[in-house]
């Protein structure tokens, strides 16, 4: 068990495994996402209320979903960084934070695009959108702190503390934003009314979510591999790898 754990923490071991799995992640991710999107955009029935404009949920929901779960994953990695000081965990946080930021931005952007035909305006202070905006700030803070600290180990641990503080706050933020929303606005039309969604809509949605998860896995591996190469540039195995690549 400990042997395995130790191995899991070894950047070299991860580099090898990631290299082997990445093509599969990429292929299956693309396949699922393409399938889900094609189904959702071209074949799923139009919404009786919103017509075709609702179809943006096939992009909006997966990005929002992933943006949120990435923060949770980062928090798990942060615990591992602080408790076991595993190098790979902090490589993960560092590699994933910018991806999370981009996904959060994408979900906000698609939300705004969807808002235009639905509400007639680009931005509404809707509870979900506002929560996502705050999530964007949280990601921004994590990245800013990471960039501000020169020493790699200190940066890893400081960022881990910040991510954990953030993850404790996320439910509180969500709850208070929801409450604030009911206080200031009468119940408006909600994005993503899931229960009323027919099978033809949620199956392609599920496919897109799964596909995007797999693609995220691929992207995370790619970014982690790059980060590992930078960090381990002085070690023998990276030097050998680079030489082999040249020769």
């Amino acid at each position: 068990m400990w042997q395995f754990f130790h191995k899991l923490g070894s950047p070299k071991w991860f580099y090898g495994i990631a290299t082997r799995f990445m093509p599969w992640l990429l292929a299956s991710g693309l396949l699922l996402l393409a399938g889900g999107l094609a189904w959702g955009l071209a074949f799923a029935p139009a919404d009786y209320l919103q017509g075709n404009s609702y179809r943006i949920i096939f992009i909006h929901v997966p990005t929002a979903f992933l943006a949120q779960s990435m923060y949770i994953m980062m928090a798990v990695a942060a615990v591992v960084t602080l408790v076991w000081r595993m190098k790979l965990a902090d490589v993960f946080v560092k590699a994933v934070a910018p991806v999370g930021l981009v996904f959060t931005f994408l979900s906000l952007f698609t939300g705004a695009v969807w808002g235009k035909p639905t509400w007639g305006t680009w931005w509404v202070w809707d509870a979900r959108l506002t929560s996502m905006l705050i999530l964007l700030f949280l990601y921004g803070g994590v990245i800013a702190l990471d960039r501000a600290i020169n020493d790699e180990k200190s940066a890893a641990r400081a960022v881990a503390v910040l991510v954990l503080v953030g993850v404790v706050n996320i439910p509180i933020i969500k709850y208070s934003v929801n409450w604030w929303n009911t206080l200031h606005q009468p119940a408006t039309f909600k994005l993503t009314e899931k229960p009323s969604m027919p099978v033809e809509m949620w199956v392609p949605l599920l496919l897109s979510v799964l596909g995007l998860y797999l693609l995220f896995g691929w992207l995370a591996c790619l970014r982690m591999k790059t980060e590992i190469l930078v960090r381990e540039q002085k070690t023998r195995w990276v030097k050998d790898l680079v030489m082999a690549g040249r020769g």
Binding site: D151, K153, K234
Partner: protein, 212 residues
């Protein structure tokens, strides 16, 4: 010989991808003065901060009275006195207030004892002058007054002689010597040419890795 107070086993420290030291092992015995030597940038201060428990970016083991230090953190902290480059003196407070605040977390001392300690470092008459009105050397002496009343068996002193005049240097040397005779252990870094009988040395520098 008695049991070592602090033992370092295979310490290794890297700073900004530069290896400061590695395979560094030594023991600090009661009744000894040890000087950490090495040119600038070889990690003397870093080593002292690691030993004091301020810096934990190192690998290797530290044993306190024969047990891993992390298990005995409180006992270690109670029994160790660390004085760094920045001595912990607030410019807005008087020497007496500063000393009182620094001792407050460690043990009960009366103001008389504190005043005596300040007088012992040549600060008699300055007890109630805000430290920002004192010279750098005098501020340093406020911090050093702690040594006169400290009962911690292990002292870690980083550049204690900075800004101290010749007379003061003599007095500190004598104090360290006396401390060792009483059974205390002292670890110092200094650029001053400290020579004490029976002084031990830890020599840093030449941080290149030689095992690969």
């Amino acid at each position: 010989m008695s049991e070592p107070l602090l033992q370092a086993v295979n310490l290794e420290c890297e700073r900004d991808t530069r290896l400061l030291f590695h395979n560094l092992s030594f023991s600090i015995l009661p009744g000894t003065v040890t000087r950490v030597e090495g040119p600038n940038g070889t990690g003397k201060t870093t080593l002292l901060r690691i030993l004091a428990g301020l810096n934990d970016a190192f690998s290797g083991d530290l044993l306190w009275c024969g047990e891993p230090r992390s298990h005995l953190r409180e006992s270690f902290l109670r029994n160790t006195l660390y004085l760094g480059h920045r001595p912990g003196i607030k410019p807005l407070l008087t020497p007496l207030e500063n000393l009182r605040a620094l001792m407050a977390g460690r043990r009960r001392v009366t103001d008389d004892t504190l005043s005596q300690a300040l007088a012992g470092t040549g600060l008699a008459g300055f007890e109630h002058v805000p430290c920002r009105n004192l010279s750098a050397g005098q501020q340093r002496r406020v911090a050093l007054a702690r040594l006169l009343i400290a009962d911690e068996p292990l002292w870690l002193l980083d550049e204690v002689f900075t800004a101290i005049d010749a007379g003061g240097v003599k007095a500190i040397e004598a104090l360290l010597q006396q401390r060792a005779q009483e059974g205390g252990a002292v670890l110092v870094t200094t650029h001053h040419d400290l020579q004490l009988p029976g002084m031990q040395r830890i020599i840093l520098g030449g941080g290149e890795r030689d095992d690969n």
